[in-house]
């Protein structure tokens, strides 16, 4: 187990370095110049040079990269070119919003997706399955941004059920916090819920025709235990995999959703930074996102062996 973890950490480090290089080169390859963006109307070559010098943009890419990496290793992510604020504090204030939004979205998607998937599998061929399938198709094909706009238009503006935008920190007022986040999380979770529902349905159908289900029935167990325990536990392994794979989609979905609901999260930070060619912020955002992605994937892999004892991580046996 320890060998496995060390191995995974080493792999993660390589992935992180590669991701950092790709983004570092990527943002610089984009058309546009942060100095120009910062200078605004003032196109005086002298002040442009001063700006470049201030942010180290006149150095070679190699030097810039080394500075970024060596500073990042010490926890210093630099200063925003746009605002001059430390990137670290910008990240730390945006991160909780996105984490909460994503966790809520996954929870909502999990509950709806697994629930509907189980019902669709058990009531196979009935109206319930038909309805679940139709909903899943809708969830997959309707884009987030449209759904978000419609939700704001009808649920927030017309009916006044939810606030249309804004954010209240959880520790300031938990109820208000949830009230602000529930609609964005629901919108963000729809796509994932649809994917989870379809996956749960098909793996439940497999599980329900398995011999061990016949055994569970022959033991006289109530349907609750046969379906909710014996079949579902075996189906979950596939569902967990899907959630892990969908994380990328969830993160990019969060960017759009945060934009629509004006949430001060990672998505907003990223989009603003890209428009302003705010290199340090973009780099830091990608570094943190990549780290999160790697950590979550590791957690998903570890979760496998909890759900299915047959899967023992390599290196343990």
């Amino acid at each position: 187990m320890r060998r496995y973890l060390l191995n995974r950490l080493w792999q993660s480090l390589v992935t992180l370095v590669l991701a950092t290089i790709v983004v570092f080169v990527g943002v610089r390859a984009l058309p546009g110049d942060p100095a120009l963006a910062l200078a605004g109307e003032d196109r005086d070559p002298e002040s442009l040079r001063a700006i470049r010098q201030q942010y180290g943009l006149d150095q070679s890419w190699l030097v810039q990269f080394w500075q970024f990496v060596s500073h990042a290793a010490r926890g210093d992510l630099g200063q925003s070119i746009r605002t001059g604020a430390p990137v670290r504090s910008m990240i730390l204030s945006a991160l909780p919003v996105t984490i909460e939004l994503s966790v809520l979205a996954i929870l909502i998607a999990g509950v709806i997706g697994v629930g509907a998937g189980v019902v669709a599998a058990v009531r196979r061929g009935g109206p319930a399955e038909w309805a679940a399938n139709a909903l899943a198709l809708l969830g997959l094909s309707v884009p987030h941004f449209w759904l978000g706009l419609m939700a704001i238009l009808y649920l927030s503006v017309a009916l006044g059920l939810f606030p249309a935008s804004g954010f209240v920190p959880f520790f300031t007022n938990p109820v208000d916090n949830l009230h602000h986040l529930i609609l964005p999380a629901l919108i963000l979770g729809t796509g994932l819920a649809a994917v989870i529902m379809r996956q749960t349905r098909s793996s439940m159908l497999d599980a329900l025709s398995a011999d061990y289900i016949r055994t569970a029935e022959a033991k006289g167990l109530p349907p609750k235990a046969v379906i909710g325990k014996h079949a579902l536990r075996n189906s979950l392994i596939v569902v967990v995999t899907i959630v892990g794979l969908q994380l990328g989609a969830l993160i990019s979905g969060a960017v759009v959703t945060e934009r629509i609901f004006a949430l001060p999260g990672f998505g907003k930070l990223t989009v603003d930074a890209v428009f302003q060619r705010d290199y340090p912020v973009i780099q830091a955002v990608v570094l943190v996102t990549a780290t999160a992605y790697i950590v979550i994937n590791l957690l998903v892999d570890l979760l496998y062996s909890v759900i299915d004892p047959r899967i023992r991580v390599r290196g343990e046996a």
Binding site: A218, K219, L221
Partner: protein
């Protein structure tokens, strides 16, 4: 025999009468079991023998209502006087695992891979007897010992994949006898196991019958297993019982040509060595969806006459019963 108050004959645990099963398929209704009747006495081992597809497993599953929804079951199955055919789900659930328990052919797939064997055994006890976690676990350890699993205290927290095939089948048996059921239905319990493991499993079953007095319905195509364990035999062919008798009678004086063929097709130690070839039964089992008003074995039978193709023989009365127009009366060398 005296008749008890609940209507069943004394000592008779399971009474199957005129059991018929049809399946709804895309090609219409298919009959799998046709008017099958048999009784199982207290502590008796009844072997139900036949080729693959003769309806023996379907018969077994229909006893506790375990067939899929596409099946239609007719006739009567009485367990200690309680009618099981048409019984509501709640009644069936309270009987399954408690009064009637099953052992299946493939222990590897029949145990749930994600729960420990201890959990899977305890579950039955907690569902039917209402034992708490500790009591159920203690009983599960006893049960594992009963079926001959060494270091049961440790094995109880193993997952099925950590056990060998023979051990898994022992776990299945432990799970089946957890609530001391009246009838144990063993559907090909040794078929998926190595020959060397089979004898051990049969020993366990024999021990259970002797110690707990459990009646066993043994579904098998293996005549060696039958000779080893059974008291009585019902031979099934194409969804019908064609012959039933005491086990030594079946082996010594088989009367139905199909039984004779079945015995002839089975290898046995000391016989058929080099000099003897196994005989085979010509032809194939008929399509069940179109059973004609005739003996279903007529097409494959060397003794078939005109009657055999025009009307269906009924089981004769008595102890050794046979459904044949031209039963074998002379001693046969098989």
């Amino acid at each position: 025999m005296t008749v008890s108050t609940n209507g069943s004959t004394n000592g008779q645990v399971l009474a199957v009468k005129d059991l018929s099963v049809t399946f709804r398929t895309e090609d219409g209704r298919v009959s799998a079991v046709d008017n099958v009747s048999f009784d199982v006495a207290d502590g008796e081992v009844l072997a139900v023998v036949g080729e693959s597809g003769c309806g023996k497993s379907v018969t077994a599953m229909s006893i506790a209502g375990l067939l899929p929804r596409t099946a239609t079951v007719g006739g009567s199955v009485r367990l200690d006087g309680t009618e099981l055919i048409g019984a509501d789900k709640r009644t069936l659930r309270s009987i399954r695992g408690r009064e009637v328990a099953y052992i299946f052919q493939e222990p590897t797939t029949s145990l749930n891979p994600v729960f420990t064997v201890g959990h899977q055994i305890s579950e039955v006890l907690r569902t039917h007897i209402g034992l708490n976690r500790q009591a159920a676990e203690a009983r599960a350890i006893e049960l594992l010992k009963l079926v001959g699993i060494p270091s049961a205290e440790r094995r109880i927290s193993d997952y099925p994949h950590q056990l060998s095939g023979g051990m898994r089948q022992r776990v299945m048996i432990a799970m089946a006898v957890a609530c001391d059921p009246k009838v144990l239905i063993a559907d090909e319990p040794t078929t998926a196991l190595d020959v060397t493991i089979q004898a051990g499993i049969l020993d366990v079953l024999r021990g259970l019958r002797e110690r707990l007095g459990t009646s066993i319905v043994l579904i098998t195509h293996d005549l060696g297993v039958v000779a080893d364990l059974a008291d009585r035999v019902a031979v099934m062919y194409a969804g019908r019982v064609v012959e039933t008798a005491e086990v030594h009678e079946i082996f010594a004086r088989p009367q139905h040509p199909y039984t004779v063929g079945l015995l002839g097709a089975s290898p046995a130690a000391g016989r058929h060595a080099e000099t003897h070839r196994l005989s085979e039964i010509p032809g194939l089992v008929p399509v069940l969806s179109e059973q004609p008003d005739a003996c279903t074995f007529a097409d494959r039978c060397s003794r078939a006459g005109e009657t055999c193709t025009t009307s269906q023989p009924e089981l004769t009365a008595g102890v050794h019963r046979v459904a044949c127009w031209h039963p074998v009366r002379e001693a046969v060398e098989v």
